[in-house]
Structure formats: C-alpha cells, structure tokens
C-alpha cells in the first residue's frame, strides 16, 4: 500500500444534477499532493457538494470518484467529514464520540474509553464529557464534531467551513489540530471563505465556480498569479454569483 503515505482522490467525468439541473461537473481532478488542500469558491459553487460526494453522503448522477484507486462506497472507507452545521445526538459529549468507535460491541473496552477521553482532552472538551452535546457553544460543537471525525483515524479528512462562526482563539486552536493531523499523514481537504486561513494552512488550492473546477495549483502561485479571471475576481472580493 504505497498510497498509505499520500492518499489520492481521483475524480473522473463526474456529474451531479438535481432535477435535471447540473450542480457539479468535473471532467478530471486528481488530489494527490501531500499537505492540506483548500477548496475555494463563491457561495453555491458546489464546494460542500464536492466534499459530500467524496465522503459518499451524496451519490453522483454519473462519473466516478476513487479514493486510493477504490470507488467511493457508503458502507466503508477511510474518509471522514466534519459537516458545516454539525449535528448532535441527544447524548452526552462522551457518547457522541464513543458512537464512532463501536464496531461489534455495544460497550467500549477500557482502551477505547481511554482513547475517547484522550481525544476529548486534546480538543479541549475534557471537562465537559458528561454534558449533553446540545448544550455546547458553537465553538465547542465544532471541536466535538472534529473530535468525532478524528477518533476513527481517517486517511482522508474532509472539513467544511469549520471556523466560519467561531472566535479567533478557537479558530487558531482548531487550525492547530488540523495542522497536527495533516503532519500525521492524514490528507485534509477543507472548504473555507477565509483567504488568510487558506494561506495559513493549505499547500494546494482548488477554485470552483458554478459547478466547475476553474483553477487548481500550489497555494502560493494560486494567490499571487491566479490564471482564471474568476479566481482573480473572487480573491479581489468582486465575484458574488
């Protein structure tokens, strides 16, 4: 498994339509470079949709997405996603994480319990394990959602605007966690509108406009000399729709 080191996402001839209206259209896209990849684009361009398709939450109308050469399936996979508006079960913070570790047993072993506690400690929720998840603040919810995705050690982590509604301190806290995880061989693809955040974190950027990939490339080049007029407008804060 050579691909273990740099997981690959390969998209070929992909189309997603809703009621006959195409929302995403990608002829070919390969994400295989090390480091974090950021997906940029105006609202409604199809960024979140792209992540959901990679995760297997949505199914393409036609075309294929392969992760490390294997087609995406909704049954198994090594990818996890942090949703834009994280949802919480009517369970405690602890149970919200524990859910993802259960495989065959309903009750977790001691090792797994420790793992959950360590993860909660890491995201700064160590003192809230018995609190109902629904009572957490916005930032805490994002942290919990992130912890839930990380606990199963995904090879690919998809993050959808994790810090859009969060204060600067928490934002940098979450960024640190993402960065650490990326250094530990997890391929991270994330969506953001925060251009500075993209610069801080990512090594590779993809620009989506009206359901099409209009530009991709190394972050520094991407921001300095954008090729596509859409990218140029977007970065200049001009493009709205």
């Amino acid at each position: 498994m050579i691909n273990n080191i740099h997981p690959t996402v390969e998209i070929e001839n992909l189309n997603f339509s809703y009621k006959g209206k195409p929302l995403l259209n990608i002829d070919y896209l390969k994400i295989d470079k090390p480091g974090i990849t950021v997906v940029l684009g105006p609202n409604g361009a199809g960024k979140s949709l792209l992540l959901k398709l990679i995760q297997g939450i949505e199914k393409p109308t036609f075309g294929q997405i392969r992760l490390n050469g294997m087609p995406v399936s909704d049954k198994e996979g090594h990818q996890c996603m942090v949703l834009q508006t994280p949802t919480f079960l009517r369970l405690s913070v602890y149970q919200n994480i524990a859910v993802c570790l259960r495989r065959d047993n309903f009750f977790l072993g001691q090792d797994q319990k420790n793992e959950v506690l360590a993860m909660l400690e890491k995201v700064g929720l160590g003192d809230k394990i018995n609190l109902p998840a629904r009572l957490l603040s916005g930032g805490e919810k994002q942290k919990l959602s992130l912890a839930r995705a990380l606990i199963s050690r995904p090879k690919i982590l998809l993050v959808d605007e994790p810090t859009s509604t969060i204060d600067p301190a928490t934002t940098s806290f979450i960024e640190d966690i993402i960065k650490t995880r990326a250094e530990n061989d997890t391929k991270i693809i994330f969506v953001t509108h925060d251009i500075h955040q993209a610069l801080r974190l990512a090594r590779h950027a993809i620009m989506i406009y009206k359901g099409n990939v209009v530009e991709e490339g190394d972050v520094e080049r991407f921001f300095k000399t954008p090729n596509s007029p859409h990218t140029r407008d977007y970065l200049a804060g001009k493009l709205l729709r």
Partner: protein
C-alpha cells in the same frame, strides 16, 4: 349532586381501605397490561426502527398497514383471538383461553401497531436529522440502530404510554378472551362492565376513577422522568 358525591366517596373508600377484591383486580390489570406492553415493545420497537431507517419495496405498504391497524376495533381482535385460542381453534391445545395469557395476546395485537407506527415515525424523523452525520463518520448500520433507539429514548417513553393506555383501558377484547372470571381474569375494565350490567353504576364509576388514578400515576412517572431529562438537557 348527591350521586356524584356518593361515587367519589365510594372510590376513595375503596382506595383507602385497600379493598382486597379491588386490589386483586387492579393488580391483575397492571400485570397483564405491562406484560403485554413489554412483549409488544420487544417486537414493535425493532420493527418500527427497521421501517423508519430503511427504504425497501413494500415499506410504504407496511407503514400504511400498521397505521390502519392502530384503529383496529378491540372486539374484532377479541373475537379473532378467541377463535384462534378456542379449544377447537388452531392453538386450542395451548389452553390459553380464559387465562391472563389470552388477554395479554389480545392486548399485544392492539398495542403492536401503535408502538410500531409511532416508533417508525419518530425514528424516521431522527433519520432525516442524523443521516448525514452517520454517513460523515461511518458508523455501522447495526450500531446506528442502537444509537437511534438511545437517542429516541424519551420519545419512546411517550410512545410506550400510548400503548399502555390503549391496553389498560380496553374492555372489548379482554372480556371475550378472558371471560371476566373471578380471581382469574377479572380486570378493571371487565369489572366495570360487569357492575354496569348489574346496574351498580356507582361502583362501576368508582372503579373507573381508580383506573383513571392508575393512569395518572403512570403518566406522572413518565412526566417526571421527562422533566428530569429536560433539566439535564436531553430533551
């Protein structure tokens, strides 16, 4: 007015004096209805959850069927169970007719559609809410099943109450399959029916008040549980 006061006095007297006969009837009612409820839930909760979580051919038909069966007339259930359990019926060898078991079976048939339909509805609601979440972190289907039930636990309590209410207040079915036999199958409702036919209306209503009181206790318990849950943020 005197009539009403007399009834209330009688009901109070029966409760306070811990009347042995009344206590026996009340206890049997509770035993039978609780057993029927528990056994029904063992069937109906998994069934409702499977219906709520999966999309398969015939699903809508099944949902429609269970919704319709919620309105099943108890007398029809009683007669059907009677014909099946009758000594000349297919399950006559079990000798269940005129025993509490027959009443449990009849009540189960009345409860199962209610618990199945309501569980299915609740779980489907949660499924809409959590579908993406489960796909985003990949939890096995068999595990999801338990998580949905755990998540719906307080909603399920209300559903169980609905089932219990249907069981304990029902008379048409249990009087046919139980026979209202003294000390064996006499329940609150059949006793009420019997005293009505004896023209002993005040005793009948007094028993009815006791039935109401039990229903109140059960509802109160669940209500308190829910209030506690709400206080801790699990509603």
């Amino acid at each position: 007015m005197d009539f009403i006061i007399e009834i209330f006095n009688l009901a109070l007297e029966l409760i306070i004096s811990f009347d042995e006969v009344v206590f026996e009837i009340v206890w049997l009612s509770i035993k039978v209805s609780f057993t029927a409820l528990i056994l029904s839930c063992l069937v109906a909760v998994p069934l409702g959850t499977v219906l709520g979580l999966n999309r398969f051919f015939g699903r809508n038909f099944l949902i429609l069927l269970f919704n319709t069966l919620m309105g099943l007339p108890p007398v029809v259930v009683g007669l059907s169970v009677y014909l099946i359990l009758s000594r000349s019926g297919p399950l006559g060898w079990m000798n269940f007719l005129y025993t509490p078991y027959a009443m449990i079976i009849a009540q189960m048939i009345l409860i199962i559609p209610i618990v199945t339909s309501l569980t299915c509805q609740k779980v489907e609601e949660l499924f809409m809410e959590y579908r993406e979440l489960f796909l985003s972190v990949r939890v096995k289907k068999s595990q999801q099943f338990w998580v949905y039930l755990l998540d719906a636990r307080y909603a399920l309590l209300t559903i169980f109450l609905a089932g219990f209410g249907r069981a304990i207040s029902e008379v048409g079915a249990v009087i046919i399959v139980g026979g209202n036999i003294d000390h064996v199958t006499r329940m609150m409702t059949t006793a009420i029916a019997m005293h009505t036919s004896r023209g002993d209306l005040s005793l009948a209503i007094a028993l009815g008040l006791i039935l109401l009181f039990i229903a109140l206790l059960v509802n109160l318990t669940v209500f308190i549980l829910k209030v506690i849950a709400k206080r801790f943020g699990y509603d």
